[in-house]
Symmetry: none
Subunit: 288 residues, 2 copies
DNA sequence: CACGCGGTGGAACATTTTTTCCATTTATTT
DNA sequence: AAATAAATGGAAAAAATGTTCCACCGCGTG
C-alpha cells in the first residue's frame, strides 16, 4: 500500500554507505537521521551547524548521493512531507482522470469505489484535524442547552434532519428549523437564552442559515456552527465552530465526513448526558 | 488549555479580520487556512500560485498582519512545527490535555476519534463488499425511471432526504415520501409502471417503508432497497438490493457508509445521465 | 620524512527567493 | 460622472541562500 517514498529509499542508501563515509559526512548522516522530520524546513546552514560541520560539507554530502546539491536532496524530504500531509489530493486527481478517460463509458462500480476511497480519505483528514478542544466545547454547550434548534438548508438539510432525529433520543427539546410553509422566522422566534442553535452551512452559505445565526445571537442563544473553515461569514456569528473539510470529487461535494462528525457529536453528547444526568434512561438502541 | 502557539493566534487574527480583507488577501487567507500544515515548506511563489495571486500579494498579506514580510510570517509556522515535533514538549502537552479532559468528565474527543475510526472501518467494508453488478443495476434502473420515489423513516429519513435533494439535480421527477400530515398512502398512491422507489431501511424495519415497497410492487414500479442484509423482509419486496453494513461503536449505529453509498449512487447516476453537477450553483435565493 | 590524496573550511560566486517600487486597473465616494 | 482611494501585477532591487572554487590540512603510504 504505502509505497516507499524516495526519502525512505535515500535514508536506506545513507545507512548502507555510512561506514565508508568520511568523518564529517558521517556527522551529517547522523544529523539527518536524527532530525529527519525537520530537514525540510531547515537551511543548509542550520543543518551544517547542527551537525557541527561546514555548509559545504552538507552540499558535498548531497552530491555524494547523486543530487546536484543540497536543495535537490531537501526537495525529496519536502515532497515526502507534502504527500503525507495532503493524502486526499492524490485521490482527487485519480478520480478526475477516471472521469476524463471516459473511453466508452466508465462502469458505475468504478465510480463508486473511487468515491468511497475519497470518502475514506476524508475521514482520515477529519480524524487528523479535529480540534479536540472545540469538540469538547461543542458537546458541553449542547449538554447545557435547554432547547436545541437545528438548521441547515439545501445540501445541509439532510444533516440537520439527522441531528434533529438523533437528539430526540435525549431529554432536550429539539427543534428542526425546516422552513416548512415558509416559516423560518416563526420557527426561530422562540429561541432564547439558555438555548443553542446548531447551524450547518457550506459555501455558498444559505442566507436563511445566516439569518438564523444572527437571530440566535440577538436572543443570546449559543451558536454552534458546522462548516468548512474558520473564515467566512459563519465565524463571526458563532460561539463554537467545528470544521469539516469535505473532499469534493467529481466537482461534487461529499457529505460523509460531515455526517460522521455529527454522529460523533451526538454520541459524545449522549455519553456525557448519561454520565452526568442520572435520570437519563439508558436506551442503548437508537434504531430505526 | 493547550498552549496557544503564535501560529494559532495568527490564524485567529486572520479569521477575525477576514471579512474586511480585499479579495486577493482573502484568497491568501483561505489558502493559508487550508494548507496550514505545509506553509512552512512552501515558497512565496508556490503559495501565491496556490492562492491564485501574485507573490507580492502574499507579502502584503504578511505585512498587513504585522510582519516585516512573508519570511517572518513563515517563521511563525515553522516554529510551531518544530515545537510540536520536539518530543519533550508534545509529551508534556499530551499529559496535560489528558488531565484537563479527565477533570471535565469524559474526553469527548476520545469518543469522537473512536467513532470516526469505526466509521472508517465501515467504509473499508463497504469498499470491499460492494456488489458491482447490483450497483450497476441500481444505476441503470434509476436512469430508466421516470419518477423516483424516495422513502426512509426515522433513522433513515435523513438519508432519504439527501437522496431526494441530490436527485433534484437531475431531470427526473423526484418525490420524497415524508409522511407529512400522515399522508404516506397518499404520497405513494401515484407510483406506477416506469417509476422507481428507493427504500432505505434497517432493522427493526419501519412498517411504513415495508408498506411502501409492497405498494410499489403492486403498481409495477421498480424497487431499489438499501439495507443491511440480503435476508430479512426487504429482500422479498425489492428488485435490487444494495447492502451496507455499518460499523457500530458505543452501541450506536453509524450512517456514514449509507450516506457514502448513496452519494456514490448519485454520482454514478449523474455521470450516466451525463450531467455536469456544478459544485457551486450560485442562484442567489436558493443557495445553501 | 616527504609525497600525495582525500577531506575540510573560507570566501567568492551564482542562484533563487523575497521584497520594494511604481504604473495600471478597479472600486468607492462625493 | 469625476475624484479619490485602494488594490493589483510586473519588474527591478535587495536579501538570503546555496554552490563552487581553491588553498590548506592531516593522515596514511611509499
Amino acid at each position: 500500500m504505502a509505497k516507499r517514498s524516495e526519502a525512505d529509499a535515500l535514508m536506506s542508501r545513507i545507512a548502507e554507505a555510512f561506514e565508508a563515509l568520511p568523518r564529517q559526512l558521517q556527522g551529517v548522516a547522523r544529523y539527518l537521521e536524527e532530525h529527519r522530520s525537520s530537514i525540510m524546513v531547515q537551511r543548509v546552514g542550520e543543518i551544517a551547524e547542527g551537525a557541527g560541520v561546514h555548509a559545504s560539507a552538507v552540499v558535498r554530502f548531497a552530491q555524494r548521493f547523486g543530487y546536484s546539491g543540497f536543495s535537490e536532496m531537501q526537495a525529496v524530504f519536502r515532497d515526502a512531507f507534502t504527500a503525507a500531509a495532503s493524502p486526499s489530493h492524490s485521490y482527487k486527481q485519480r478520480i478526475r482522470s477516471v472521469i476524463e478517460n471516459r473511453a466508452g463509458g466508465v462502469p458505475a462500480a468504478e465510480i463508486a469505489s473511487r468515491f468511497i476511497d475519497a470518502s475514506r480519505m476524508g475521514l482520515d483528514e477529519l480524524a487528523a484535524e479535529l480540534d479536540e478542544a472545540r469538540f469538547q466545547q461543542a458537546v458541553d454547550t449542547l449538554a447545557a442547552a435547554e432547547n436545541i434548534y437545528v438548521m441547515g438548508v439545501r445540501r445541509s438539510f439532510a444533516i440537520a434532519t439527522y441531528i434533529a432525529y438523533a437528539l430526540q433520543h435525549t431529554k432536550k427539546r429539539v427543534h428542526l428549523v425546516s422552513g416548512l410553509g415558509g416559516m423560518f422566522r416563526e420557527q426561530l422566534r422562540s429561541m432564547g437564552k439558555g438555548d443553542a442553535l446548531i447551524a450547518i452551512s457550506f459555501p455558498p452559505f444559505g442566507k436563511e442559515t445566516l439569518y438564523a445565526m444572527r437571530v440566535a445571537q440577538q436572543h443570546h442563544a449559543k451558536v454552534l456552527a458546522i462548516t468548512e473553515s474558520d473564515l467566512g461569514p459563519l465565524a463571526r456569528h458563532s460561539d463554537i465552530l467545528l470544521k469539516v473539510k469535505e473532499g469534493s470529487a467529481f466537482a461534487f461535494r461529499g457529505l460523509t465526513s460531515t455526517m460522521c462528525l455529527c454522529q460523533a457529536l451526538f454520541v459524545a453528547l449522549a455519553y456525557k448526558l448519561e454520565l452526568t444526568v442520572e435520570e437519563t434512561t439508558s436506551r442503548g438502541e437508537y434504531d430505526d
